[in-house]
Amino acid sequence: MNLVFDPAWLPRLGQGVLLTVQLTLYCMGLGAVLGAVLGLVRVYGGGRWSPLYWVASAYIHFFRGTPLLVQLLGIYLGLPTAGILVGPFLAGLLAMTLNTAAYQAEYFRGAIQSVKSGQMMAARALGMSRAQAIGHVIMPQALRLIIPPWSNELIYMLKYSSIVSMTALRPETMDLFGVARSIAARNFRYFEVYILVALFYLAMVLILTVALRWVERRVRIPGLGTPGRGI
C-alpha cells in the first residue's frame, strides 16, 4: 500500500485545529462556571425539596441523559424554527457548553462533598457566613480536587467536539474533523487524512494532559487530595 501525504492539506487542517481548540476551551470554561453553580446548588441549594435543587437536578439529568448529537441538532435546527438563528459555531458551542456543564456539575458536587465537613463547621464557628465559608474555605479545596476529573472531561470534549462537523458546511466553520472529511472527500485519501487527524488529536490531548498535570502539581497542597507517589 502506498501512503501519500500532501503538505498542502496542512494549512486547512491547522485552521481546523484552531477551531477545535477554541470550541473546546470556550465550552469547558463556560461549562465550568455553569457547572460550579449547578454543583453548588445541588449541595447547598436547600435540599431535595427546594425548587432550586429540583431545577438543577432536572437540568443535569436531561443533559446527561440525552445524546450530545441530539442536543446539537436540536439547537442548530430547532432554534431557528423558534425564530432564533444560530450559526454552526455558536450552535456547537452552546450544545457542548450545556452538555459539559451537566457533567461538570456532578464533578463539582463530588469535589465539594469530599471536602471534610469539619471545614465548613470551623469556618462558620469563626463567624463567616455560609457564602464566605464556601468562597474562602470550601471552593479553594474543591477546585484542587476537581482537576483530575476535569482533565478527563476536557479530553473527552476535545474529541467529542468533532460532532460539530455535522453542522458545518462552509470551510471556515469546520473543526479539525470536518476539515479532514472535506479534504478526504475530494481526493479519496481517507486513510492518510484520518491517520494525520488522529495524530493531531493525540498531540492535542497529550499537550493538555501535560499542562493540567503541571497545574495540578503547581497548586498541590500537602494533605489535600491525591497523595504523593509510592503510597
Binding site: K116, G118, Q119, M121, A122, A123, R124, A125, L126, G127, M128, S129, Q132, H136, V137, P140, Q141, R144, I221, P222, G223, L224
Partner: protein, 249 residues
C-alpha cells in the same frame, strides 16, 4: 451579670433526647470544665451555645445578646466565641499563618498587614511562630491543635469553647496543648472545656460540671467535686476517670 447564660437547653436527635434541660451560667474569666461519660450531650451543649447545632428549646445569652433569638446575627456572635474542635479542623489548604489570619481579614475586616502582625503574635503565644508557613498536614496533632487555639485567640473572643481538645492526640502530644490551655486560664480567658483530663480540671478549673444522660448531675469547685461530691454517681465517675486518665498531667 454572668458573661454567658444557658437556660433550659433541649436537643433531640430523632428519638433520642441528648440534652434534657441544661442550665448554667459562666462569669468572665472563669474556667469551667465539663465532664461526663461519652454520649451524654457535652459536645452538643457546646455546639448549641454558638448554634453550630440548633437547640430545640431553651435560650442562650452572651452578655445581653440572646444568641438563640432569630433576630440575632449569629455570625457576629460566633466571631466573639472561639471554638476549638476535637479534630482541630484547621483549613487544609492554608498555612498556619493563613489559618489564623483568615478570620481576622474576612470576618473582622482587618487590613492584611495588621492581620499578619496579630496572627504572628498569636502563633508566638502558642509557641509556633517558626511554623507559620507550614500546612496543617506538615504539623503534628499537638501543633495543629495549638494553631487552632491561636486561630480562636486571634479573634479576641469573649469566651472559648473547647470540645475535647486533646482526645484525638497521641499521649505524648497532650501536654503541649494542655500547657497552652493552662496558661490561657491563668491569663484570665473565659473557657468552657469538655475534657477527660482530670489533672487539668483540678489545677485550673473554677468549676467542674458533671453531666450524664443529658442533664447536669452536679457542679461545684474541683475541691468539692473530688473530695465531697453530694451525688454518689459523681464520685464514682471521677474515681473511674481519674484511674483511667491519671492525674499526673
Amino acid at each position: 451579670m454572668a458573661l454567658l447564660r444557658v437556660e433550659n437547653l433541649h436537643k433531640r436527635y430523632g428519638h433520642e433526647e441528648v440534652l434534657k434541660g441544661v442550665t448554667l451560667a459562666q462569669d468572665a474569666g472563669e474556667t469551667k470544665v465539663v465532664i461526663g461519660p461519652s454520649g451524654t450531650g457535652k459536645s452538643t451543649l457546646l455546639r448549641c451555645i454558638n448554634r453550630l447545632t440548633e437547640p430545640d428549646q431553651g435560650r442562650v445569652w452572651l452578655e445581653d445578646t440572646e444568641i438563640t433569638s432569630r433576630r440575632t446575627d449569629i455570625n457576629r456572635v460566633r466571631a466573639k466565641i472561639g471554638f476549638v474542635f476535637q479534630d482541630f479542623n484547621l483549613f487544609t489548604h492554608l498555612t498556619a499563618l493563613d489559618n489564623v489570619r483568615l478570620g481576622l481579614m474576612k470576618v473582622r475586616r482587618m487590613p492584611r498587614a495588621a492581620a499578619t502582625g496579630r496572627a504572628m503574635a498569636e502563633l508566638e503565644r502558642v509557641g509556633l511562630a517558626a511554623k507559620a508557613n507550614a500546612y496543617p498536614a506538615q504539623l503534628s496533632g499537638g501543633q495543629q491543635q495549638r494553631v487552632s487555639i491561636a486561630r480562636a485567640l486571634a479573634m479576641d473572643p469573649k469566651l472559648i469553647l473547647f470540645d475535647e481538645p486533646t482526645s484525638a492526640l497521641d499521649p505524648e502530644l497532650i501536654g503541649e496543648v494542655l500547657s497552652v490551655m493552662i496558661q490561657l486560664a491563668r491569663d484570665g480567658m473565659t473557657m468552657i472545656v469538655v475534657t477527660h483530663e482530670m489533672g487539668f480540671a483540678r489545677s485550673v478549673a473554677d468549676e467542674i460540671v458533671f453531666m450524664e444522660g443529658g442533664v447536669i448531675v452536679e457542679q461545684g469547685t474541683p475541691d468539692k467535686m473530688f473530695r465531697s461530691p453530694e451525688v454518689p454517681r459523681t464520685g464514682e465517675f471521677l474515681r473511674k476517670i481519674s484511674d483511667l486518665y491519671g492525674e499526673s498531667r
